[in-house]
């Protein structure tokens, strides 16, 4: 991964961008990239110090220094270094230095310390050649580690990687990220929110034209602009990049002393929002079986996020609508954790208003009774595959009760 100092910035007032590699510099940098890749390939079996020196020997114009340093970092990331396995240096040093102390103490004030003699004695005692001992004495230092493996690539790919990684490295300076996302695939959304949870970031979400605006930062952000969440925000770029269409605006703490600037970035998945990703197999199968039933309910892919601020959210896979105006969502939790189910239960109890059916396999050992019948959120526990018929039965339960059973209606909790 690049660090922020290896990024080519362009600042216009309070907006910063990362600059792509200029066309004029491209041939030079391809050559330099080739040189770095060669240096790594040729240094396999040599020390890190040798590898670094070989990188230093690659000719580079002073105008390209920063990109070159970035490329060198990316090449180094593709290298595996290990300590030379020989005599453990720590033990060698203890032996040599103990002997040296004793030798020095034994001198009278006219005698001089004889380094060569101490090393020779120690080497003889350890059964090593003098040269081997000198070489092994500090073999555990980072610069002495051997380059054992290098994952090769092409100069073109390396330059492309640099440009891509620049954008991520920019977010290392971020204190907050606001991203507008157009995405219709539940799995992509879920992955995004899973990543958010994994990185322990906080978010707010609001519906916008054709999509959602998600604001990401951390608990501490309320009190001070801190780059503490920068790495985690940078790690969010990959799940964001997976979205159909997205545009982000990040607040960066930039420069010395740090000033608050904006960083803008946008992108699209191949094909953009029009190109729908296929539904997961179990969901697609359910849609097909449901279509074969005789019913007025219609089913389509859901594009909504159902959020309850401060409590959580769910990302339904499907939305069912009935001509009488009833609408209900289905979220397939399948084999997810019991914990995920309890989160949904909390969400419903905390006042989620929409009708939602959460489909869970019986392997998660939860009871449908965990959510009472009069709540808008319901659990559907299935065995093996989801039954379209059972889903239909449960959907019917969401429709306003017939006049006859009006007396059965209990008051619903306030949303």
């Amino acid at each position: 991964m690049l660090t922020a100092d290896l990024v080519r910035w362009k600042r216009t007032k309070d907006v910063v961008e990362v600059r792509p590699i200029p066309a004029a510099a491209r041939p030079r940098l391809l050559e330099a990239a080739e040189g770095l890749l060669q240096a790594a390939a040729n240094s396999v079996g040599e020390s890190r110090e040798v590898f670094k020196a070989a990188c230093g020997d690659v000719p580079v114009s002073h105008a390209d220094q920063r990109v070159f340093a970035g490329l060198q970092k990316l090449v180094t990331d593709r290298c595996t270094f290990e300590m030379d396995v020989g005599q453990p240096p720590v033990a060698l040093r203890a032996e040599v230095f103990t002997r040296a102390t004793a030798a020095r103490r034994a001198l009278d004030h006219l005698q001089a310390f004889d380094r060569g003699a101490v090393i020779a004695d120690a080497a003889a005692a350890l059964g090593l050649e003098v040269k081997a001992l000198e070489g092994a004495l500090f073999a555990d230092l980072k610069d002495a580690h051997l380059l054992v493996e290098f994952e090769a690539t092409t100069p073109e790919a390396l330059l492309a990687l640099y440009e891509r990684e620049q954008e991520r490295a920019a977010l290392l300076l971020a204190v907050r990220v606001v991203v507008d996302i157009e995405e219709e695939d539940a799995a992509i959304w879920r992955n995004l929110f899973r990543s958010l949870k994994f990185h322990r970031l906080l978010y707010t979400i609001e519906a916008r034209d054709g999509g959602y605006r998600v604001t990401l930062d951390g608990p501490q952000s309320l009190f001070s602009a801190t780059r503490k969440y920068g790495l985690r925000l940078a790690m969010m770029l990959e799940p964001i990049r997976a979205c159909a269409r997205w545009a982000l605006e990040a607040d960066l703490l930039f420069g010395k002393p740090p000033e608050r600037v904006r960083f803008l970035l946008k992108g699209e998945r191949d094909g953009g929002p029009g190109a729908e990703l296929p539904l997961p197999d179990d969901v697609a199968d359910l849609v097909q079986r449901f279509g074969a039933l005789e019913t007025d309910w219609r089913v389509r892919r859901s594009t909504r996020l159902l959020a309850l601020p401060g409590v959580g959210l769910c990302v339904p896979d499907l939305v069912f609508s009935h001509p009488d105006g009833t609408r209900a969502y289905l979220e397939v939790l399948g084999f997810w954790s019991r914990d995920a189910v309890w989160k949904r239960v909390d969400l419903v109890r905390a006042g989620l208003r929409e009708n939602v059916l959460f489909a869970v396999t019986e392997r998660l050992r939860v009871s449908e009774a965990a959510l009472e019948d009069d709540l808008p959120g319901q659990l559907y526990v299935y065995k093996g595959v989801m039954s379209a018929r059972r889903v239909l039965d449960r959907l019917e339960g969401f429709r306003p009760k017939a006049q006859a059973s009006l007396s059965d209606l209990r008051t619903r909790p306030r949303g």
């Binding site: 002073h62 220094q65 720590v90 040093r93 203890a94 040599v96 230095f97 103990t98 002997r99 040296a100 102390t101 020095r104 103490r105 001198l107 004030h109 001089a112 310390f113 380094r115 101490v118 090393i119 004495l137 500090f138 555990d140 230092l141 980072k142 322990r200 906080l202 978010y203 707010t204 951390g218 608990p219 501490q220 309320l222 009190f223 001070s224 801190t226 780059r227 503490k228 010395k256 601020p309 401060g310």
Partner: protein, 453 residues
């Protein structure tokens, strides 16, 4: 009923009827629909509730009272008793400034004994973490946890590095009622300060020989820990509580060849600086030099020239020959050699065959080297910066500063390493300065402290 929850270094205050009881720093958080403060404001929030006689449930605080106090009693020195009293008088918040070797750590032990709450000690280096670990373990006769340097074991008494505190406080910030910041001049600054803010401990103690920072940010210590409640100077304590010491500055002439190379490189560097109109009397000049240097081939050569002349002055062969002479003179003593950078430290180690401690030294080897030094198996240890601070090497009686920065703090700390009283020890600090080089000025700057007058 109001409910307090610790979340990732912040305090969530749920179900607040009257927000006026909350400290000013509290903000309503739309993301989670509750009030939020930095964890540090915990004591203030609780006091607000107490004052209004409001009931609350506390899900935030997870620290406990210690079962037992000090297992060993040792009569405190008068200034240690005074320091503790001053700190307690300020409701257990504040900084105690005592010279290195005077027994700052024991003040912390007395404070833990007085407060008897789960305690976290934050220390800047792994050497110091190891040292606190030993001290807490023996003083309180109970298991001590360590977080940092690959360990993650949390106990009611735990030692952590500043780096780990910054990274881990969002998980650990509610598990300690008392935090000790060792070498607390490290705390101010964007990231480490956050570690203090993310911790809810009501009791806080800062320890340092030199709380002042060149950048003036030591004023932040008052907010993060508390005011300086007690301060004593090295000259006030020398003799009675610290070893007697002398300092000697030795000017080492360069050989003709060294002089020539030095002047050549320095000439290139100075010509560039002059051509760019950079004036080092102005603030930010060094930053300016680095920026300009990065822009042209000429600039990069100037930077290289600066590095070369610096290396020549700090590790000139004639200087190292003089080190040989000093090592010989003190071959029956315990000598610490300080260098400005790791390269020189390793150079010294290789040349004189003496153990070296840097940040790259494995923990086990550090312990082995320090034990060997204490026992006398090793007569000298070389180091760059890692032994500057706090690490206890009581047997050391000679320090040789081969090269260093102009920092007064660094120099005072290096002197402190040989001042721990042991018998009638007479300590001596040599400072080697390459004659007629920029080092002469650096040396003057670092000796601007009462300890050197």
């Amino acid at each position: 009923m109001t409910r307090l929850v610790f979340n990732a270094g912040t305090l969530e205050v749920h179900d607040v009827e009257d927000p006026a009881i909350l400290p000013e720093v509290a903000r309503f958080d739309d993301r989670t629909r509750c009030w939020r403060t930095p964890a540090q404001a915990y004591a203030e929030v609780v006091m607000g509730l107490v004052r209004r006689k409001l009931a609350w449930t506390d899900e935030a605080r997870r620290y406990t009272e210690l079962d037992a106090g000090l297992a060993i009693q040792r009569p405190p020195r008068p200034f240690q008793t005074e320091a503790l009293a001053a700190w307690q008088k300020n409701r257990g918040r504040g900084v105690v400034a005592l010279p290195t070797g005077a027994g700052k750590s024991w003040v912390a032990m007395l404070a833990i004994d007085a407060i008897r709450r789960s305690t976290l000690v934050v220390a800047p280096t792994l050497d110091l973490v190891r040292q606190w670990y030993d001290l807490l373990g023996s003083a309180f006769a109970q298991p001590v946890g360590v977080v940092g340097g690959g360990s993650h074991d949390v106990q009611p008494l735990t030692v952590i590095t500043y780096d780990s505190a910054w990274a881990q406080m969002e998980h650990l910030g509610n598990r300690f009622g008392f935090v000790v910041f060792d070498e607390c001049h490290h705390l101010p600054g964007e990231s480490y300060a956050l570690g203090a803010e993310m911790c809810l401990a009501p009791y806080r103690l800062g320890l340092s020989a030199t709380p002042e920072r060149a950048d003036g940010r030591h004023v932040e210590l008052e907010r993060l820990i508390g005011p300086t409640v007690y301060q004593r100077d090295v000259v006030e304590l020398a003799g009675d509580y610290l070893a007697e010491y002398t300092t000697e500055t030795l000017t080492v002439p360069l050989t003709d060849a060294e002089r020539q190379a030095y002047e050549h490189e320095r000439g290139i560097y100075r010509a560039f600086v002059a051509s760019q109109g950079i004036r080092f009397s102005q603030q930010g000049a060094w930053q300016q030099f680095l920026q300009r240097a990065a822009r042209s081939a000429e600039g990069r050569r100037a930077l290289l020239a600066w590095q070369r002349q610096k290396a020549l002055a700090s590790a000139a062969p004639s200087k190292l020959r003089f080190v040989e002479h000093l090592l010989h003179r003190h071959r029956q003593d315990r000598v610490l050699l300080f260098t400005q950078n790791n390269n020189t430290a390793y150079q010294v180690a290789r040349r004189f065959l003496i153990p070296v401690i840097t940040h790259q030294t494995p923990v086990v080897e550090r312990s082995e080297i320090l034990a060997g030094f204490a026992e006398g198996r090793y007569g000298a240890v070389a180091t760059s910066k890692v032994l500057n601070e706090g690490v206890d090497v009581p047997s050391a009686n000679v320090a040789i500063v081969i090269s260093g920065s102009g920092s007064v703090r660094e120099h005072v700390q290096r002197l402190g390493r040989i001042l721990r009283k042991q018998g009638d020890k007479q300590a001596i600090l040599y400072e080697l300065v390459a004659e007629e080089t920029a080092e002469t000025y650096t040396s003057q700057r670092r000796r601007e402290h009462s300890a050197y007058r």
